[in-house]
């Protein structure tokens, strides 16, 4: 009998503990005290912390990020910070910023992300992205999470690589452009093999972007 009581008590304790953990999880990182936050750049920076939704990783080295417009989510790199001085937002229509990342794998990166609640025609938008590059871009197009993604890899020199992308929501007019560029800070020799891995990492990151309004029936007011 006493055994059962103890077991019951144990279950209660586990359940209560579970509840507490849930509560912790639901506290926004911006409201947590600094010592409880993960010791990574993204959380150390006050401005960046505001966008992060939880201290629980979405996958290794990434945390959940919600844009200032609330329009899209993505995985945010632990070594990244959002540039506060260059950050710009116009109501729910436009948001633009630069992210600086210490990738922790011998690469230093920047990502430029521009969101528009109404994006233009695909061909015009791709032309406008291309005109910011001295080289020809070959866009490859595919679908992911109700988004049409047009992505082009580029290589500036032996050490600098990256990708340009246009993401268009399939059922609303929303869209965003991203320019992700990474500089290998090791020797040219080391960089050779690392570059391929970095390109894969970039592509995987692009695929983590999801619009909050997932289809037309969602949040139509």
């Amino acid at each position: 009998m006493r055994y059962w009581l103890t077991a019951l008590l144990a279950i209660f304790i586990v359940l209560l503990g579970g509840c507490q953990m849930d509560q912790e999880k639901s506290t926004k990182p911006a409201e947590m005290s600094v010592e409880d936050l993960p010791d990574v750049r993204a959380f150390q920076d006050d401005f960046t912390r505001e966008f992060l939704q939880s201290t629980k990783e979405t996958k290794e080295g990434y945390y959940p990020f919600l844009s200032g417009t609330g329009a899209y989510k993505m995985d945010f790199p632990a070594g990244g910070i959002v540039g506060e001085k260059g950050y710009s937002k116009k109501q729910k229509e436009f948001e633009s910023y630069l992210v600086g990342i210490d990738e922790g794998n011998g690469f230093e990166s920047s990502i430029k992300i521009d969101y528009y609640s109404k994006i233009g025609q695909t061909s015009t938008e791709l032309e406008m992205l291309s005109s910011q590059f001295n080289q020809k871009l070959d866009f490859e197009s595919y679908d992911e999470n109700n988004i049409t993604i047009s992505l082009a890899k580029f290589e500036d020199d032996e050490k600098t690589i990256g990708a340009v992308g246009l993401l268009e929501h399939k059922s609303t007019q929303e869209g965003l452009s991203i320019i992700y560029e990474s500089e290998c800070i090791r020797s040219v020799e080391d960089c050779k093999t690392e570059k391929i891995e970095m390109q894969n990492k970039i592509k995987q990151w692009v695929n983590s972007i999801k619009f909050v309004k997932n289809d037309e029936s969602d949040e139509e007011q």
């Binding site: 528009y116 233009g120 015009t124 406008m128 910011q132 001295n134």
Partner: protein
């Protein structure tokens, strides 16, 4: 192709001016024909098609704040095939908000994008396989729109502008990837710091930007009045002037505002820019009180609820959280703002003294300005002192002491705030306003600095700016 159909400054200026009249297509066409006849003494030798950006098929163009009109001149016999895009300058509050973000803070570039999209759309629409020349015509903000679009997207063959808001290298850093990359490489910036550009020397950046865009600059032609307020601020960090520029001294009796502005130390301009950046960052949540709270840390909604000790206690009990937040906010933010205000009062003699010497304002008006600015500084000092005392009372951990301390502090702050508002009343004095309006438009920018800082009402900023634009449109 022979000489273009709009070959003189005069006719181009008259067309730019037409854009502000909000004419329908028929009247627009009629006016153009009339102007052509007056300028050249002959009938326009081409057909005209007019397309307004508000009629664009692309909803992202119609929903943006960009406004422009495309005028297409064509004639097969005469071999005329010319498209003119007249982008509109600053028109309303939304534009001035954009001005702050785009021109001073250098962060928004959506109107430049819209200018390019609209132009591309029109080119497709009038598709005629001929050799089309595309010319941008612009005044004020439109020069920033047209030229920024041109530098990034190669939108135009030629650009003609009058009294333009100049291009901004911070804005192009955000909007043009190749330029951004070249800056990072040239100045050895680490990609890990997204705000590194703001620490670079403005003069070096200006030289670099001019050199980087020098090829495209050859197609930009500007006409600038030395008395134009946008010219006066064009020496501020961020701005770089490109193209062949014809300067006109429209008011030879006065030395021109630019010289005066140039004497204001870069530190002051930098503070202004920081304020513009703070302001735009803060106003992202909408609402001016929120923006003011973000900048100085005073929750205006809260303070306005308080009249006496009774309401102070009521607010205290019902709005605990907000008061807590305000005390912390004030503690964090006030010292920064105060030091910026001190930069301005500390340089008051340079700024206002030069305006007196140049005959823009009288000695007496200068004294009023300096007195009131100093008074504002004293009040802000008072607020800061109250806040720091408050934080020490709060640190004692005694609830009643805290209650008493907070309530007293709120009333004190309210008193300081009222004094600040009195100073503003003083500054709003009719004579002073009139003197400033007719003589020293540059001072509007200085006033804006104060207004952005403390004034509750964002609209005031806009009114000032709008007054400024109205004063500008004198080239009829």
């Amino acid at each position: 192709m022979s000489e273009s159909i709009l070959s003189t400054d005069e006719i181009r200026l008259r067309l730019i001016n037409l854009e502000y009249k909000d004419l329908n297509k028929k009247d627009f066409e009629k006016e153009i024909k009339q102007i052509y006849l007056e300028e050249y003494g002959e009938i326009l030798p081409a057909n005209i098609e007019i397309i307004h950006s508000r009629d664009s098929k692309n909803s992202e163009v119609t929903s943006s704040d960009y406004n422009g009109t495309a005028v297409y001149f064509h004639s097969k016999e005469k071999d005329i095939n010319e498209l003119y895009i007249i982008s509109q300058g600053t028109q309303d509050g939304a534009d001035w908000e954009y001005n702050l973000k785009a021109m001073f803070a250098g962060k928004d570039f959506t109107q430049a994008k819209s200018a390019n999209k609209f132009t591309e759309e029109v080119i497709k629409e009038i598709d005629n396989n001929g050799e089309l020349t595309v010319t941008g015509l612009s005044h004020s903000l439109a020069h920033n729109n047209n030229t920024t679009a041109h530098l990034i997207y190669d939108t135009f063959d030629e650009i003609y502008s009058v009294n333009g808001a100049q291009t901004n290298y911070y804005q192009l850093f955000n909007a043009d990837r190749d330029f951004r990359r070249e800056i990072m490489n040239n100045f050895n910036l680490s990609r890990t710091n997204p705000d590194a550009i703001y620490n670079l020397d403005p003069k070096q950046l200006e030289t670099f930007a001019k050199e980087y865009y020098k090829d495209k600059a050859t197609n930009v032609h500007q006409l600038i009045s030395k008395d134009d307020p946008l010219y006066a601020v064009s020496g501020a960090r961020g701005f770089f002037t490109i193209g062949d520029v014809k300067y006109v001294d429209t008011n030879p009796d006065l030395p021109g505002l630019r010289n005066l502005m140039d004497e204001i130390p870069d530190e002051v301009i930098k503070d202004f820019q920081e304020l513009a950046i703070d302001y735009t960052v803060a106003s992202k949540k909408g609402g001016t009180n929120a923006a003011i709270q973000e900048i100085i840390g005073v929750n205006m909604d809260l303070v306005n609820e308080i009249d006496d000790i009774g309401s102070a206690v009521k607010v205290y009990f019902t709005k605990q959280g907000e008061i807590d937040a305000m005390v912390h906010g004030l503690n964090d933010k006030l010292p920064g703002v105060l030091s910026r205000i001190k930069t301005v009062t500390g340089n008051a003699d340079v700024i206002f003294g030069r305006l007196v010497n140049a005959g823009y304002i009288t000695e007496e008006q200068k004294n009023t300005l300096v007195t009131e600015l100093t008074a504002i500084e004293v009040e802000l000092d008072g607020i800061q002192e109250t806040v720091s005392r408050l934080t020490s009372i709060r640190d004692m951990g005694d609830f009643y002491a805290q209650l008493g301390g907070d309530a007293a502090a709120i009333i004190k702050m309210k008193r300081h705030y009222n004094s600040i508002m009195e100073s503003f009343e003083e500054l709003n004095n009719e004579d002073l306003l009139a003197a400033m309006e007719q003589s020293a438009k540059a001072i509007v920018y200085l006033r804006c600095l104060k207004v952005c800082l403390i004034r509750r009402n964002h609209i005031l900023v806009q009114i000032w700016f709008i007054r400024l634009t109205v004063a500008e449109r004198k080239f009829e």
